[in-house]
């Protein structure tokens, strides 16, 4: 099928798509947007997290057919040109990025948390990020990065 998706504000189309392939596959392999990472393909790791019509979802669990006509925001849509989004900057500043594989998904999950709750407690941070696995950092620095991002976005 032919699908049309608005990704980060731009209308994109992909042809000869199987309706049952994942939105993640469409983003990465058909549209060349490799920011969303492909790890487990079963909703466990969160590295493929994107916004779909405003909801945080695992792109690997959305079918291409379902995504037809949708608005998608990926990690590529957060930075403003060359300058990082404050959440991305906070992850860098706090050393919350090691191999970086989990980072795009975590950035999106953090963004979603801070949109709803500008001053989350540590427990709220951990709960909001429970669907995002990181094999490198041990999470402490990630939680610090979210705290810093909350402060920065409150100030900015």
């Amino acid at each position: 099928m032919l699908i049309e998706v608005t990704v980060n504000g731009r209308r994109r189309t992909a042809e000869n798509v199987w309706a049952g392939e994942s939105l993640l596959y469409v983003l990465r392999e058909r549209l060349g947007l490799r920011g969303s990472k492909d790890a487990c393909e079963q909703g466990e790791c969160g590295s493929c997290s994107v916004y779909l019509d405003g909801d945080l979802v695992c792109a690997c669990l959305v079918s291409a057919g379902q995504a037809d006509g949708a608005e998608v925001v990926t990690v590529e849509g957060l930075a403003d040109g060359e300058s990082l989004h404050p959440i991305q900057q906070a992850y860098v500043s706090e050393g919350a990025v090691q191999c970086g594989f989990c980072t795009p998904g975590l950035i999106l999950a953090t963004h979603c948390l801070l949109e709803a709750n500008s001053d989350p407690s540590d427990d709220e941070i951990r709960e909001a990020l429970a669907g995002n696995l990181c094999r490198c950092t041990g999470y402490e620095k990630i939680v610090s990065a979210v705290r810093l991002a909350a402060m920065e976005t409150a100030v900015g």
Partner: protein, 301 residues
């Protein structure tokens, strides 16, 4: 079907519920997709490649709930996030269970109806739906039928749905007393239940409902345990003074809950552990719910 877009033969997106029902009759092999949180895992791992997907996820009319005559009707598109954000006071056990499902990403997409259709013995919505005596409303071109939750599951990952039928909604009685849900897993988040238990007091009828997950080939009620508790609470006058339950009553209930289970050994835990955990959960949830009832007072309900 003029009202239906057919972007490809492999994908059907009905615009209305009536079209969805008609399409399922025309294409009984079409596989419904809602949140996709169960189905997409199968597709990603090529465990199945359905000829046609029937996409229910864009039907706004399914993403609704309606309260009337003491019942909440949950449309088939209602997600865990919807339940825990909006229905905590009407459906406390289901909301507690919804909180434990997966992660925010999973709760935002996964639906109660999808959980029922998958019919995993470990599905977290099932124990609360059993404990509250919910009804599954199923529809096809042949009409609507209401299936009591206790008769919906027919085996592991099997249910009563015929090839032309879709789940339209689930009717759940609004709480008329304290409810509890408890789930044991290997960690706090993102975990499939090793065993789970729900309990719901219906104060006006002086009845307790129960539901057990992951401890038998299907989710089940502990009917014996419930009948025992109803009888003991009445006989010993507990409804009159709301005093603390005796250890004898609590253990009698917990033993009967454990006896109702028929667990198996599997990767998530041995059968003996499940029975033990179930006994502990039954004891705790009963104590929690009864003390909530004693605190609120019987007249609050």
């Amino acid at each position: 079907m003029a009202a239906v877009e057919k972007p490809g033969v492999d994908y059907l997106r009905p615009r209305t519920w009536q079209d969805a029902v008609a399409l399922k009759t025309e294409n009984p092999a079409a596989v419904p997709i809602n949140g996709g949180t169960d189905l997409m895992v199968d597709l990603n791992f090529a465990r199945s490649r359905p000829p046609t997907l029937l996409d229910l996820s864009h039907l706004d009319e399914l993403r609704r709930w309606e309260k009337s005559n003491g019942t909440v009707e949950l449309g088939a598109g209602v997600t865990y996030t919807d339940v825990l954000e909006h229905l905590g006071s009407d459906l406390p056990a289901l909301a507690l269970a919804s909180r434990t499902v997966g992660s925010p990403q999973i709760r935002n997409r996964g639906t109660i109806a999808g959980n029922l259709a998958t019919a995993s013995p470990a599905g977290d919505a099932h124990p609360p739906l059993l404990a509250t005596g919910a009804t599954v409303r199923v529809e096809s071109m042949r009409g609507i039928r209401d299936v009591p939750i206790g008769r919906f599951f027919t085996g592991p990952k099997r249910n009563v749905l015929e090839p032309d039928e879709l789940i339209r909604s689930v009717l759940v009685p609004s709480a008329r007393g304290p409810q509890q849900f408890s789930k044991v897993g290997t960690r706090n988040a993102m975990v499939i239940a090793v065993v789970s238990f729900a309990l719901a007091f219906d104060v006006p009828s002086r009845h307790v409902g129960t539901g057990i997950g992951s401890a038998a080939p299907t989710p089940i009620e502990a009917a014996d345990a419930a009948a025992y508790l109803d009888r003991e609470l009445a006989r010993e006058g507990y409804w009159e003074d709301h005093r603390e339950l005796s250890a004898g009553v609590v253990d009698g209930f917990a033993d009967r809950v454990a006896a109702a289970s028929r667990p198996i050994d599997d990767v998530r835990g041995p059968a003996g552990y499940r029975v033990h955990a179930l006994r502990v959960m039954a004891r705790r949830t009963l104590r929690w719910a009864w003390s909530a009832l004693a605190t609120d007072g019987i007249h609050a309900h």
